[in-house]
Symmetry: D2
Subunit: 386 residues, 4 copies
């Protein structure tokens, strides 16, 4: 029995949550060896030092790849991706994996896909087949066309990948590993820490213990770069007016990052909102505990679509970022309009009908992924099915 070397490339904080239990399952599987590459914004303090969480979780990192170009326009996104291809080509040449895993649809994930497939290394794409819009949409489906094995997170996604012409023998609905964490937390949902005490952050010392709280996480939508600042201001004003204690998370790296971040920073300096506390980051488990105990999640994070649907947490989903992704009855959409956002939050907070859903997994995705990797023959040749 030969051991397959599976090289997983994590390029950002949110990607780690989406793969963590699969990393553990790969590491522990007798027929697999985990090669872990941490790259891009996952290495950067400005985006929450995901690398520290990963090391604290006991993973050995085989390579670190610095590849993020600073900048305030989409050009730097493109150049970061190009640099990523060059760097990751080196990494795979050195590590000689039997397969490479690329995760979901962030812009830089295509760098992993190219560096692997061009070197004739079987490419495994996690969480293809979903629908959103914007550049993520293009990247996700391009990753599908470069990949040899598809481990998707929902039945809906599986059907879409098959329609695109992928061989049915290479498409598996594993569910999303992020639901594994959610499942674990759901069995023990106590908020057993004080968020401000444990994570510091900046802003008001909000009275969340008595009044409860909402959570906000709003990322810039890259193809609407110029309006990132205006968009986030609507949410800031809505949340400020409502006056409910709020935990707000800074956005992760993207071309519009400074638009959104600057919007938040300026609002904070000028309005000094007395009901909002800001965090840079939180350990995934703590973040899930925070969500499960919250009144509502607001913004455009995919956690609202995935983890929250499983956890049954109400969500106000703003704008086009999660577009046509399949969702549970916990989600209410809103445009970038202060008043609509306020109404949507009030609706969600008072709703009685929100239930839990297993659209995105049943809590066993990590093990399922490792098993499929061990059992499925890997190839780097493919041809469209029609």
């Amino acid at each position: 029995m030969s051991i397959k070397k599976i090289c997983v490339v994590v390029t950002a904080r949110p990607s780690y949550s989406r793969i963590k239990t699969a990393l553990t399952a790969i590491k522990n599987h007798p027929e697999l060896e985990l090669q872990l590459v941490i790259a891009g914004s996952a290495l950067l303090g400005r985006y929450g030092n995901a690398v520290d969480f990963i090391e604290n979780d006991g993973f050995k990192i085989d390579e670190k790849v610095f590849m993020v170009l600073e900048g305030e326009n989409p050009t730097s996104m493109a150049k970061t991706t190009g640099l990523g291809v060059m760097e990751l080509a080196n990494v795979f040449y050195r590590l000689q994996p039997d397969a490479v895993v690329t995760i979901a649809d962030r812009f830089e994930t295509i760098a992993t896909s190219i560096a692997a497939s061009y070197q004739n290394i079987p490419l495994i794409h996690i969480q293809g087949g979903e629908v959103t819009g914007n550049i993520d949409e293009k990247v996700r489906h391009a990753n599908t066309k470069l990949a040899d094995l598809h481990l998707v997170a929902s039945q809906d996604a599986k059907e879409r990948v098959l329609k695109m012409g992928e061989n049915p023998a290479t498409v598996f609905n594993t569910g999303c590993p992020s639901i594994d964490l959610a499942s674990e937390i759901k069995q023990n949902p106590n908020l057993d820490f004080d968020p401000i005490e444990k994570y510091g952050g900046v802003g008001a010392d909000v009275n969340w213990k008595e009044e409860g709280y909402i959570v906000v996480m709003q990322h810039p939508v890259t193809t609407e770069y110029a309006s990132a600042r205006k968009d986030v201001e609507q949410t800031l004003q809505a949340v400020h007016e409502l006056g409910i204690p709020t935990f707000w998370f800074w956005p992760n790296v993207d071309a519009g990052s400074d638009g959104t971040s600057n919007g938040i920073r300026t609002f904070r300096e000028i309005k000094k909102p007395e009901n909002i506390h800001f965090f840079k980051n939180m350990e995934p488990k703590d973040f899930l505990k925070l969500l499960i105990n919250s009144k509502c999640l607001i913004g455009n994070s995919s956690a609202g679509i995935r983890e929250c649907s499983y956890l049954g947490v109400p969500v106000v989903n703003i704008g086009s970022r999660q577009n046509r992704r399949q969702r549970g009855n916990n989600v209410l959409n809103s445009s970038y309009d202060k008043n609509e956002i306020i109404k949507a939050i009030e609706n969600r907070i008072s709703s009685k009908n929100i239930t839990s859903s297993t659209i995105y997994g049943d809590g066993k995705s990590g093990d399922r992924i490792a098993d499929i990797l061990a059992k499925t023959p890997l190839s780097f040749h493919k041809t469209i099915t029609y």
Copy 2:
């Protein structure tokens, strides 16, 4: 009426033939402005100095992009692509085109696609939707998923692009501009030059005038890198044994280039084949005249599938490179086996039933492409249709 700036990126000699008449039509169209970027191996003497032909044809080049890494393995293909993304991102940032055109499926064409789509520039993909195999297959379909407008070369290709989930309003069967050249030549097919006199080259001074001749063009198939040398030797031996005067063209750049090239070089030094003359390159028109007057084309060039089907030239297509591409009755397939190749050539040379076909175009593709570019609204947003 505003003028649309259309930026076309040509990265290799064969891509130029596939786009030339469209370049002329764009240049001459009153509503379009041509921005021409020459990149990659199209700039290199080792691969035939396509740039010189392009300038001789009267095109003004807006940017030259040196991006080809030397090397003897697929790692350099990947790194060339990454470097291409970085360089082309700069180029598009500077030229600010209204749309970017990427051509077909060579490995580095995805660099154009990423650099444009990540900067929110509408991306036009020429000649998607075909089927081959190998890395070209992955690159072509990934280009489709990154592109906003699809100008394909056959009905078959159009249906495939639609099945992949592209919006029907963005998919047009224009035929292939390479057929425009072929159509021109077909109307005046005299071989009005002496190939050896005009192009030099090396090897035997073959007696083609009296005996007729065959043409060989065999490229390395990148995912079978190691065997490139062995494969080309079978063809060399077959052609040598047959003893028919032969014009052989060196392969273009690819990871296996040195395998194939070394195979040819060594065979030449050792066997000094008295019936083979070797060329580096030929002007596209002269090449078509050479084909139309030949007994047969041998190898794996796409010219065998496209131009030769229109011209009605017999073709022996070797190996998997053109795999499932639609073809006329002029083509006979062969494996990499000397004896099978010999038999296939004999069959083709003596066949009486070879007819001309318009599968890949009717000779008016260039104008059709320019018209569509002028009339179709350009966008950089899209969502899969299912």
Copy 3:
């Protein structure tokens, strides 16, 4: 008479102050044509958007080069430099200048030097020959050895460049263009704006109008990366204890940037110092007016050594960054020790003997530089003189 195209590459905010009057003089000189390239941190909002000041000053920018890699260690400094070489090679290939100007000794300036000299373009180095220590020291002298013409800022520097083996016909003491600005301001030194009103910034609304103020600008010293945070805390505590109204400027980009910046940010959040106001940036002229009206400049900025010596402003120079640079009697050195810093500030504020000096120029450097560029024959061949 042919016009010489002089391409100047500005990679950071402070470099712009050091070259501005020369840019104007080149632009206005009948025998010269200015090609202006803005690169690196000069393009980034995080580092003060130097590009905006440059455009406001009426300069046309020929190329913008995004090349700064994010990161928290010296690796990203090296990679930024490598990327700079690649990008600037393209830029010079396109602009075809008759000479390229690289400024001083920041780490990325060697990218300009390599991209020009390797392409056989005469290289002009501004402000070589000084002595500091750290990586700047290595970069500055390596720039000298790559350069063909040396325009230095002091007699001391001229002698040092000659000793290194440069041809005397290629070494000129022009003084520093930053003194040209200082000279202009000195003739009209009124603080004719309210800094907080005009530039915003964050922190306390200090009572500078009645009590006067000091200015702090402390950059990380890259080879002591780990201690950047500790070092800046000593200065913060010293300034806080003294209680004098203080205008503090954030540091510019460097590998230790986040160490210093985080030190400042944390101190601010925790101590909320009531006597410190923080600025990101200021127009060069306003900055000079601020200095000339201040009680003292504290930190390790080269403005303390250059402009302040000409303006006669007292300076406390902390640590090794300005090391062995020639200086006037306005400067008092201090180690990174809170108590020593306090004593040094008190000494400077009460000193009666501080005079003005022309070590670094007489206010006419810009014109002098343009004249030399116009009159000196340019070559890209050189040989060491011994």
Copy 4:
């Protein structure tokens, strides 16, 4: 006792000969650990596959770095260097050496210097302080200014490095390791192999056994790129006219490489010179045996200045490439003129006064270098001495 990790970067075939015995001595030294990085043209078949010789010599290679850009102009030299900085920054980050060794003055050696010094790794420069001209001259002295320890090959070079302001405690005349090999061969100088039989090559089967032979090695001089072809043709004609059996070596990688190579290739095709046999490469020991038994070495190789001075082999040194390098009485200079080259060769072949010299070493350089590396304290801080 802690072991020092010494990372040596070899970027080209000729650099390997200049460091080989030092590599062995470092590998065998109890206080040192060798980290070997092979990069650039040393990895490429077109330039003689130095990597194969290195592995055959029993060295373990820690990293291979593909970084050579194809191209026909100096732009690709600059871009290769920039890419080298980026790649080598990664390599040193991963290997964490205690010191990095950069060799001599090829254009890409500055990439090693920057990647090491910017990451605060002590940099050791081998063979600085010599004088030539052209871009090598600039690169060599820039390397000196970036380096912390200088191991030079002659007394002359040592004095020059000191004059440039380096600390005397960091400058050592070790001689050149290439002389160690030469010394070994000199003790057993029999030509114990048939060059054509062992190395193949192309061209005439010259009668060297009876008539004796000369050796030619002529590299392009990069700052005279356009004339590389013209220059080499003069040498080709001279050697052809003389009619003496000749072993000619193809040039190594450089911007003009294709100029020189094409000149040779074309001359070969057209003239089919019956007295010249061409080699791509030869093992260093065999090359030295070939030299010691030859009538004369012609061209601009540094082997003519170094190894041949020690071996007492007559040399005709053409053009400016070796310019002001110290040399023995074996060398006669010539311009790029056929007739002058012919006269010079005739002079050398008939000269009676050529003696051996130890200017560049006594045969013990390798061990001396390892000892100094083990005993000298390593630092990455330095300041010019004046």
